[in-house]
Assembly symmetry: D2
């Protein structure tokens, strides 16, 4: 067990950090200006940044080498999950940071799915432009009418009809749908509601312009629209796609979903840690530059306690996330499942506490948009729900503990351990 | 000590509740429709509701009887703070509920100030239309450049120049300024920065259309604009008003501010309790109507614990708030200061926890606007900062404790209390 | 609703407080000395204090007037639960305080049971000496082998055999059994395990010297023996008592238990609040008399926050406890059940947090016996378990909430509430 | 960065675990029996276990290789801090586990001090028998009269008088003094109260039988005596020792203390993690073997949440502790200072929460001694105070954060970031 980054990782950290410093941070005001002019449009500055990152080989960093599926045409930067994780944290400090390096959700997950399970034709049509950063994509899983953390609840139907599949259903939290570059969605639905629990679901590719696919609305998140990305409610009404759009085969949707979630959670957690670091930095700076009751607010010990706690929590979360990434690389996503569940719970909670403290340190400025804290809070608050609420993950971790002792015997009490008396 | 409402209070509770049930709740969709059409306009439905409430004598309920200041023309409904408090909770369940009864902030505080300290001319010009519900008003206190919880930090200047005062400064969190009916602001500033700490400040009436008063922007709260009310950043640049607009006299601004805060905090806390009750109700309903992992979510005991805790916390907070109101009525705002500080800290915290749990219970729906929870969270989060952050109030409560024992002697240790040994 | 004590209550508060100041506090070192000499003996100083309190009419204050059951011979001081509650807090500041006024558990509960349900002979034999303070008693309910919070789990058997009942079982947490003055126990067991759930249990009087009743050991509580009171594990092996020792009748044990618990919980909670006040006072004094890093520890703002929080929590808990007492007096123990469950959860938790902070403020002195804090923590920690763990009470409170909305309809989502888009 | 143990570490883990399983766990009842007979004596079983561990080369595992100070005679097992850390966790699961391997506090710290700073004569006299496990030792630092977390407060005087030093002072929390094998103490005091802050203190060796050294009492921790170890209050009255007993030189006491604390904290934290694992295991087993309200308590989801949280917190703490150990090995105790402070705060807090939950899961059994949980809680509660309270460590971590931004500029607000309005 050792706790230094490898030379390779450190080199990538330095390169990504340098790129952020040189190109991304200076571009923030430009981005904000372009965004203010056209919230739901394409930001030219972002395309410029992407071109630069691609040119420097800082591109598709998220996609781990995969002997079985890598080909000349479809191949990431060759970093393992553990090598990519610290980069994800650095990108996560800026809202559009990950996209600059073609590493943003849900494209990352969709690319992984296509890379692993896509047919050649599917790859050619969708994976190629995704890896090139030419288009973006969506993942339509969650449904408003049922508790979707229990996958057997899903109601969207995918019915074979000749050479086509016909899709009907209602989805929401379809993230990224607001972006004009979003051209395709992977849709989760049931091809056979009567099959056994985890063989009912399938995943299928649906072009965003398919007739019958209708964006009902964009969901506000604590009042934010998260444009141009956006989180949509989408209705699919007799949407027809070629049968060849089905991924991997009927009844394999659950299996695909399982494989998908691990890396994405690592990315989200590392970005969340980045956001927590930003909040901690802002909190410290604000406290150092305000006076109240005759002294610097930083000198009030209540804030020392909060900053101290924040640092402790960040360090612990980061280590656990890195360990989960390491396990995915070494023992596989399946064995790492427990650790992935742990960070899924731990990271957002940690960040929310720190951001909330930072808000408090900023006074009225904290809840408004001047410092980005409220927006960060809102964004991370969704992570306690996305991909299954905390409660479901804690339940799964607990069951793992209980499993160790299922048949254990245990004493009810120990009369011999009392106080000598009388 | 007894814990039943008086007949008078109960009668008002019943009347306000009946009015809410009959008129206000059915009006919510109308309000939302009108609001969707013109966010920053006057909502006709609200004016209709106000007329009805006024006709039924449910009007200006917040203004306690005040022998010294009540006159034929300026007089509230005759309810004490303790009698009004439970009504405030009922109104607080609906976002525009208080305004229906002409009981919404910051008008309530401004009316109280004018009622108590205004000259006859000031009353005629501003108190009369405020009490009639014809106009609305603002209170300009907090400044972005300094920690305003320490009143000596305030930088806005109010300088006498002949028959006028000239005002220069920058304010924010000027709530209600977005409303087209908002016609006047009470502005806090310094007339004499060299006077002793609490004699430097004055309060002055400034018409919203005074030349030099400029609304710089509306502040988002999280991502909400709180329209048509709104929270503004306002610049005052050589704003000139007649000298007669000064309230009470130079150097009395701090004194006026102190008197103002007590009742407003009771109202805010009771409305907050109302919001917490709404969240608890929604949480219960949601849990009862969702299934996961083979049973009703309400039957998972983690939710039993959270609902149980929520009920306990609400009950405790309500009692303390009612006690603070009672003390204001019986021993005065000054003696009740400690209790008011307590509820100022306790109520928002309690509500935020419950609303956050309710969000969690709603899954993805919780963070969006479908159930009003995220908006409620954002609104109440500001209360941990408005009128002084939690830390300042806890400090003042603690100092009250320390004061009891200032010269106490206390042993360092007690050698005689050890274990018999040797 | 009002928040001042009645004249009668205030007079009793003053009298009890004066008695504590004049007699009880000065007696503490004497008590400690006598206790050090004979941990499990009778402390002569306590008997002296009892005689004084009785002479002053400060005796059996806990027993509310009860038109149905009061007689010339068996009658308490005539205080309602609400009137007694604040006295209980004052007594609770000293470990043996309640006993001085013949108000200590479990005698209070046992006296109430006998007062309400005892036969004339049972009263003559046991209630008379208990009310006179001549003997003490125990209540044998909890069992080590089963989760006793679920009363149907109880395994002790009470079997009729001619004119006698034969009792077999194992009990623990039989509090007070260590006291040489403890002469009788009320034992809960099952007379008919096949009856419906709440008709299986009965309660029966068992003299402590009954053959077959064996004290197995005294249970340490975080290392404390709580002598001379003590918490015992007791085995009952073919213990025979006259059939007339059964209270109220077969199958009525659960009913008796229900009636018993309310007042006892009020007493425990108010004593707990007293203990919290003591901890807060000690914390303040310690912080005021220690220096670190160039200033008084009391001036470090982290401690201001903790003291402030402590005061808020104490005030809220006290009000809820007083309300629960008030409801018991006005609407009866059954209707007040929900409020009683709330304080049962809220008070110990509040006190533990404050005591723990006080321990922290005392440094190493806090965990030892020099300041009584660790002992107080240990004692109150048991209250989160005694008479049912927190979880069971929160569950019952939650179910009360859910019940309100059992058949409610609730929307799954609201498509019309999204962001205007496209 | 990788997260597997090295082969060497894993081999030691396996050996220590095997030794625990084969020898230590089976010896627990023997130990308890011997302890019950003679609380403050030498337990023969422990000496047997020590002999076995020594014979197997599992001895002095805690002492890292140190090129500068290792000699043929004085040398540990050759494990780095990172290699030893996981062993410490395994030992920490049993109260006397560390001592079996001659790895228990405060001997470890004392041996390190002597190893690094002791003269040849000091080593010969005290280090040799300590490393052989023939004697034990104490460290006398904390004083009851002052806040000892601020080392400049220390009042014990060490005054040169000819060839001797004369020591006067009062110490407490002198751990291990109760053990009959405890033969020597290292005493911290001031040789020059007028020197600069961190040059006033010195450390000196004092035989426990030196005339004038008097054990005043043993301190109970909560109600436990921690025999035969014990925590003493000690008075030193004109205690005279040869001048050659001074360690390293006058004025170097603070420097020695700084070097001492790092490894000890790692050990304590890892043992604490061991204790947390034990509590988690017991909690799971208890919940699996109790029924309430018609189902296994383990199936109530509130407990799933608590177990899940426990596992997450343990994993995070362990990683941070291992990282701190790793840093001590690679960059030195001084650079690792911040990480050491973090685990000092994080580990006890984490364990206390888990143990408290485990207590709750055990019902009444939890607070008594039947399951060892209350004792574990008491012991670990002291760690939030020993070697400086949490507040002091969090302060130091926070100052490290603030230092990064001392001269940072930071905006007060951003008027351009508002809502488009009007």
């Amino acid at each position: 067990m050792h706790f230094d980054f490898s030379d390779k990782t450190q080199e990538y950290i330095d390169r990504v950090q340098a790129f952020m410093d040189k190109h991304v941070y200076p571009a923030i005001p430009v981005y904000e200006e372009q965004h203010a002019k056209d919230r739901w449009g394409v930001m030219p500055i972002l395309e410029e940044l992407k071109a630069k990152a691609k040119a420097e080989g800082l591109w598709n960093l998220f996609l781990p080498p995969n002997a079985e599926h890598d080909t000349e045409e479809y191949r990431g930067a060759g970093l393992s999950n553990a090598e990519y994780a610290p980069l994800s944290e650095i990108m996560g400090r800026v809202s559009f940071g990950s996209e600059v390096f073609n590493c943003s959700a849900p494209d990352t997950g969709n690319m992984e799915v296509l890379h692993r399970y896509g047919s050649d034709a599917q790859k050619e049509e969708w994976l190629r432009p995704l890896m090139a950063g030419d288009i973006r994509s969506a993942f339509l899983m969650t449904e408003p009418l049922v508790a979707s953390s229990d996958a057997t609840n899903i109601e969207t139907s995918i019915v074979r009809d000749g050479d086509e599949y016909v899709i009907n259903g209602r989805k929401w939290w379809s993230s990224g749908v607001g972006d004009p570059r979003c051209k395709v969605a992977i849709v989760m639905g049931k091809t056979d509601p009567d099959a056994e629990r985890h063989k009912q679901q399938s995943q299928i590719l649906v072009p965003m312009d398919a007739p019958g696919l209708k964006i009902v609305r964009m969901l506000p998140v604590f009042g934010y629209d998260d444009s141009p990305h956006g989180h949509a409610e989408v209705v699919l009404e007799n949407v027809r796609v070629p049968a060849s759009n089905l991924i991997l085969g009927e009844g394999r949707g659950f299996e695909i979903a399982q494989g998908r979630l691990g890396p994405g959670r690592i990315h989200h957690c590392m970005r969340t840690i980045g956001a927590a670091e930003v909040a901690l930095e802002k909190m410290a700076k604000r406290l150092l530059t305000r006076q109240a009751f005759g002294k610097n607010v930083a000198d009030h010990s209540i804030w020392e306690q909060r900053l101290g706690e924040a640092r402790v929590e960040i360090e612990m979360c980061r280590l656990l996330t890195l360990k989960a990434a390491y396990m995915m690389d070494t023992v596989g996503n399946k064995v790492a499942k427990n650790e992935i569940a742990m960070i899924k719970v731990a990271a957002p909670r940690m960040a929310l506490k720190i951001i909330d403290d930072a808000i408090q340190a900023h006074g009225g400025g904290g809840v408004t948009s001047d410092f980005g804290l409220a927006e960060s809070y809102a964004k991370i608050r969704t992570l306690r729900l996305a991909d299954g609420p905390d409660e479901v993950h804690l339940r799964s971790i607990a069951r793992n503990e209980f499993r160790k002792y299922r048949d254990a015997e245990y004493p009810t009490h120990k009369p011999e351990s009392g106080i000598q008396w009388d």
